[in-house]
């Protein structure tokens, strides 16, 4: 199953590259640099998915105290951090030619950086507590509180005046993008989601092994 998921994710990523570079047209205003969007947007959407899973699994753990929920929260949190880091880096690279700066303390950028730091802290916290049960409990609380930042990141561009553009895809109004750009984004979004599921299954297997060795 995991192997098939891996191959499916690899095929999806190849299809995403073909769509992003071969099918989607050059942006009328930004030129080809806009193609960074096909990495940047799927990365943050995947991070949202990962941290939403952390929230659900953390609630599950606090209510049931079953290790499976903690295993899921831990694994999804780690992968969410990877994708949030990728969002920050790709956004910074996109920002330099379009905004003229690698970084600015804009509400969207700052809230995303805070999201990244919260979940880095979430992972560090697990390593700092010796008792695994207590560590899981503390992490679950941070996992739940950290999720509060997800809507702040997403709606920051509507709530504050920002340099970052307002949401295009998950916008309250109809997305103002051409069909081929929308399709390229969709293919890349699905590919990143498949990659997330594949990495999650690998991370879960690793965490299970860690528990067996610790026992």
């Amino acid at each position: 199953m995991t192997r098939w998921l891996g191959w499916l994710a690899a095929l999806g990523l190849l299809a995403g590259l073909a769509m992003g570079f071969g099918v989607a047209p050059k942006d009328a205003v930004q030129g080809n640099v806009q193609r960074i969007m096909y990495v940047h947007v799927p990365s943050i959407l995947t991070a949202y998915l990962a941290f939403a899973l952390v929230l659900i699994a953390s609630l599950g753990y606090l209510f049931t105290r079953r290790t499976g929920w903690d295993r899921l929260a831990h694994s999804a949190g780690e992968i969410g951090v990877v994708f949030t880091g990728l969002t920050l880096v790709s956004g910074s690279i996109w920002g330099k030619p379009t905004w003229g700066t690698w970084w600015t303390w804009d509400a969207r950028l700052t809230s995303t950086a805070i999201l990244f730091l919260i979940y880095v802290g979430y992972l560090l916290l697990r390593g700092m507590v010796d008792d695994p049960e207590r560590g899981a409990r503390y992490a679950a609380v941070v996992g739940i509180l950290g999720a509060v930042n997800i809507p702040i990141v997403h709606f920051s561009v509507l709530w504050w005046r920002t340099l970052h553009q307002p949401p295009t895809i998950l916008s309250p109004e109809r997305a103002p993008v051409s069909a081929s750009i929308g399709l390229a984004l969709l293919v890349n979004g699905v590919a990143f989601a498949l990659l997330f599921l594949y990495l999650l299954s690998k991370r879960l297997a690793l965490r299970r092994l860690e528990e067996e060795i610790r026992a």
């Binding site: 050059k26 205003v29 930004q30 030129g31 080809n32 640099v33 193609r35 960074i36 990495v39 940047h40 990365s43 992968i79 990877v82 880091g85 990728l86 880096v89 790709s90 690279i93 996109w94 330099k96 030619p97 990659l195 990495l199 690998k202 991370r203 297997a205 690793l206 092994l209 860690e210 067996e212 060795i213």
Partner: protein, 44 residues
């Protein structure tokens, strides 16, 4: 606006390195822990 292909390739390149690196790390750790588990089972 100029195309800035260098920035495009840098973004895709870094994404590829990060994701491939993370995947390799998971594979490597799994192999190391599996070997450790097998060694412990032999000792028992």
């Amino acid at each position: 606006m100029p195309d800035h292909w260098g920035f495009v390739f840098a973004a895709y390149g870094i994404a590829a390195v990060v994701l491939f690196g993370y995947w390799r790390r998971l594979i490597r750790l799994h192999a190391e822990l599996s070997a450790l588990k097998a060694r412990r089972e032999v000792k028992r």
